[in-house]
Subunit: 324 residues, 2 copies
């Protein structure tokens, strides 16, 4: 009867209709476990929940998961979220998910500079799609990334046109690949411009240490030659810049331009409104789901990759260079 329900095989259409009707009548739903066991396909895609500190301010996870769900459901797949127990590494959770055969593929997010997960999945030949990418992969794999490099270049160009010459970049010490991609994009745009008067000051802070971050911002703001425009690696950093700037009496955007990345909800509310880039996480997640399902269906597929250009969200935190 599975044949009839599936539709293919050589079954008379008439019979098929009859079977489907009967199944509906009886409220029959095939048992997932039995189906998985024999077919070898579970219809699940897994993701291991990132380990988070006690506070989670962004809506990233919610949007991402929503997008994945939307992408998966179109093909009848569902999502498994596996958390790591305290003291358990994300990698070991991933390994367990893969070995236990609960999922047909996984999506891995937050790619680090040296990421064991990708190496493992590749070696295991297990279908996966990465959200983000490695800097120097010596093997092909499926990924979708936001073009942070392009965005940061765009931010630079916009600010340069507004007369800014001294730039600040507030970045993190956590070894995620996106910080390099974005910083390199900024540097590349500067180089492209070829103006020797352009200067870039970089400050680094640990990602989750708010105190250290504030210190780093203030060091930058208090420097004898303060940048006239500061770009935050992501919105939370840019928002800290805005907060500290107004705390020390700088007016934004009159005295200082600030630009962020991510377009988190708070950026719209924080005065005077943070100019930032929107990466449309939900849509990206939906595409990731589709890529993954494609890879699962045809495992010999050429590796897919896709670079999504974020869109500039213009608010009021940037303006002409002071004194112009």
């Amino acid at each position: 009867m599975s044949r009839a329900l599936a539709g293919h095989e050589q079954i008379a259409l008439e019979t098929r209709k009859r079977v489907v009707a009967a199944a509906k009548e009886l409220g029959y739903v095939p048992n997932t476990a039995a189906r998985t066991l024999v077919s070898g396909r579970s219809g699940f895609v897994a993701m291991v929940l990132p380990v988070r500190g006690p506070h989670l301010v962004d809506s990233f996870l919610g949007e991402f998961v929503t997008g994945l769900g939307e992408g998966l459901v179109q093909h009848g797949a569902d999502l498994i979220l596996a958390a790591a127990a305290v003291g358990q590494s994300e990698l070991s959770v991933l390994r367990h998910v893969v070995e236990s055969g609960r999922a047909d593929g996984v999506v891995v997010t937050r790619i680090a500079e040296t990421d064991e997960r990708l190496a493992y999945l590749r070696e295991r030949k297990f279908p996966f799609v990465a959200h983000g990418r490695l800097l120097d992969a010596d093997f092909p794999y499926n990924w979708l990334d936001t073009d942070g490099a392009h965005a940061f270049g765009e931010a630079f160009d916009m600010l340069y046109e507004l007369g800014h010459r001294h730039f600040g970049l507030l970045t993190i010490s956590e070894p995620m690949t996106f910080r390099h991609l974005r910083q390199d994009g900024l540097a590349a745009a500067i180089a492209r411009r070829g103006d020797p008067s352009v200067r870039l000051t970089v400050a680094t802070a640990p990602r989750f240490d708010r105190g250290a971050r504030i210190q780093a911002v203030n060091r930058m703001l208090a420097a004898p030659e303060r940048p006239t425009a500061i770009v935050g690696l992501f919105d939370e950093l840019a928002l800290t810049v805005m907060e500290e700037a107004s705390r020390v009496g700088l007016s934004i955007p009159r005295d200082l331009s600030v630009i962020g990345f991510d377009n988190i909800a708070a950026s719209a509310y924080a005065p005077p409104g943070l100019t930032t880039f929107d990466a449309s996480i939900r849509q990206c997640a939906r595409e990731i789901a589709e890529m993954l399902l494609a890879v699962i269906t045809d495992r010999s597929k050429e590796p897919l990759s896709r670079l999504v250009r974020p869109t500039l969200v213009t608010r009021a935190s940037h303006g002409p260079v002071p004194g112009k």
Copy 2:
């Protein structure tokens, strides 16, 4: 060998350790499908992803899912997220999840006034825990809810002490139970106070129609006798009040006090900082996970219920009544 790994039965501890070690050595992980098929327990808990409009501003889902994951992983369970396809009801997804035996229990959120889901699950005798509760359930069930009634009472008392006598409540037209609970909590506190000079003006707006919401706020602000304190059913509403108030030249908290509920990230950033209640969603979700696992383990358990008191987050959006 399953016996040894499971641990119970009469197996010498020594043997057990040996088996576990060997399993680890070989990288053996039992196949989930086979295990589920024979044991009848999948080790999964499911939740159907709420259907969302295109924009998702809060971090609720992310926090909730993170909390669930944390609670589940302690007992070796994982989470399944099932999305609804376009045009498919949440109920039918739920039904499918239950019938297909992919999960041992489900958590259902966002309880509506007449919620078919609870009735279905109950009739089906399927383990579940609700986040939120019905207003007039004629049957017992497991739930965990945030005590919005208490919070709104607390908000009233605080504002009353500050001299406020004319209150505004901005609520939604969507038939969720929490709107009644919170509004009733406010009304109860007013009644408890027994001061006939206290007045309450209620404005209702559709949840997802920003334009209508803004209109409702402005009607309230433009009324001949404007409330001196407005409580938003949740933060987004309160933030709209703050935005519109400052747009029409009212200063917060000098001219108007505003209090919200949820403590979303933007509330800290929106000037002058929204006073609100924090429901610690993540922690609640963790408890929900634990409740659900308890119910799954012992299906004859007495229904569990828990009311969590939210904590007041004092910021700068409330103050003494104007003219005092």
